[in-house]
């Protein structure tokens, strides 16, 4: 997508949401939803329309774990690292995922199939280890279940 197209789409999003009380997070979510990440070209547009400095918009975007500065892989697998899942073997599961995919957390496989990310609690603490696979919740994920999920993703 060209820089112009990004700017145009961003303008449309900001125009739609700017009247909200505290509009910046909803705007950043909508921009990420539109592009799959928050493109650098979008930031000056948001800043200008909200009468903020670029630094302020960048500061907000970079504060939150959710906002990406580059596209994710075709699939995103988030593994819970929190205590309740650790009590059910989340650490071993994470090690298995990293070894199988050949990536660390926050990285994407060379094929571009899967981005692996940590998440701190999905509220599935009585059926851990838990994962969020392309936005869908999965509970009691053991190595075999994870292998099945990753195989279906071609990774």
């Amino acid at each position: 997508m060209t820089a112009n197209a990004v700017a145009q789409r961003t303008d449309d999003i900001v125009d739609e949401l700017a009247t909200l009380e505290g509009p910046l997070l909803p705007i950043l979510h909508a921009v990420q939803h539109a592009f799959g990440f928050v493109p650098q070209e979008a930031l000056p547009r948001i800043a200008e329309k909200l009468n903020l400095s670029r630094a302020e918009v960048h500061g907000v975007m970079s504060f939150y774990h959710d906002f990406r500065t580059e596209p994710a892989g075709r699939h995103v697998v988030k593994l819970c690292r929190a205590e309740a899942c650790q009590a059910q073997g989340a650490d071993a599961l994470a090690a298995h995922a990293k070894a199988r995919l050949g990536v660390d957390f926050h990285e994407t496989t060379a094929s571009g199939a899967v981005t692996l990310e940590p998440v701190f609690c999905l509220g599935l603490c009585a059926c851990g280890p838990a994962a969020l696979v392309d936005g869908k919740v999965v509970g009691r994920v053991d190595a075999a279940r994870l292998d099945q999920i990753l195989s279906e993703m071609g990774a």
Binding site: G22, P23, P26, H29, A84, L124, A126
Partner: protein, 510 residues
Amino acid sequence: MKIYVPRDAAAKALGADAVAAAVLAEAKARGLDVTLVRNGSRGMVWLEPLVEVETDAGRMAFGPVTAADVASLFDAGFGSHPLAQGQTEAIPFMARQTRLTFARCGRIDPLSLAEYEAHGGLKGLRRALGMSSEQIVAEVKDSGLRGRGGAGFPTGIKWDTVARAKADQKYIVCNADEGDSATFADRMLMEGDPFTLIEGMAIAGLGVGATRGYVYIRSEYPDAIEAMEAALDIARAAGVIGANVLGSGRAFDMWVRVGAGAYVCGEETSLLNSLEGKRGVVRAKPPLPALEGFLGKPTVVNNVISLATVPVIFERGAAFYKDFGLGRSRGTIPLQIAGNAKHGGLYETAFGLTLGQIVDDIAGGTASGRPVKAVQVGGPLGAYFPRALFDTPFGYEEFAGKEGLIGHAGLTLFDDTADMLKMARFAMEFCAIESCGKCTPCRIGAVRGVETVDRIAKGDASAIPILTDLCNTMKFGSLCALGGFTPYPVMSALTHFPDDFHAAHLEAAE
């Protein structure tokens, strides 16, 4: 025939959508007239997906059901079956609870306003509409309700401060940024009985004179966001919220806002900054959010469970609610039993059970069958309790007296394979990742904490007093609970499980 298959995220995570699809397909193939209800969860997560069927003898439960079991359930006419659990309400885990806040959760279709009303919904709001602001605030004060988010501040006093403040606009903000590990009560409530939260917020609005509200839900809860959005559309269309609440001429409207993956935004001032579109950095207090909160206006910031408990207090009266509990912990608390638990799930009960009763009787010990080594109470900022402290009664002051906290009432069970030095390190690591960076004890202390635990792990016993000292600095020098409470898991691990710290020392020395 009416069949219930939960839409709760925990049920979905264990295959409920596939079970629901199988129920519909099987009914069609057999030419049966089946009404499928996607209810909330009953809270018995080890039995999810829990399928229920309505009979003359009440609702009968089957679980845990997989899609492959559905045909055999129909074959058995939903009668005698290996997965049969009997009457849902008679399952001991259900029968022993006192369900006030969660009375409707799992029983009704979460998005049916008619069923909500048929089960007592909106009675509290209707009563509140006939009361003055002072009477509403007094009712909440009298109930003894304290903030269920963890801090335990009396809800009525917070409301009173906002009610007395003079401003052209006030707000009700619901903290649904339930980031603590082991906690899922907010999620379950929003997915299983969202109208209760809406009703509670509307009553809060009437009580303090606020006409606008926000539910700040964490992005890690896609199903809860979807349920709340749907419920708000229904409530607004039915006139429960909006310009004319239940035809009273009073206004209250509210919206969902979605977080962006920052644990610290569960702290109320960070949450307000985030809601305003800023970095989720903690604000110094004073000013209190009650006086200068969202956009600088007087704001009630309450947890989901606090607000969702308000309707039952108004429906049945403050005295009824206050009658449950012990000491200064009044009413009921939804315990969330998590981690390595045989019977994990949500268990609402009056305050006052001992930790041992919860762990041994209700949770049934560990899922692995091994001995319970430690229970972390109150999420990632809560202390690890050893069996020696299992006689501690569940209450705010009682846990504080044992250098712990009840927090949002989540309990994570660990069996004897847990390495407590590793858990102490994780607490510091988590704090370092999630620190907002505003205050030094948290921002720098957590990083030094990880390094210091690593020194201990390598056998450097001289680092133990350094860790203790560092924890003291973080506890008393941090601006909010993230840096201030991270010492609880660290120090409790060190104090109650010294072998895990010395064993490392010995191993390294050999």
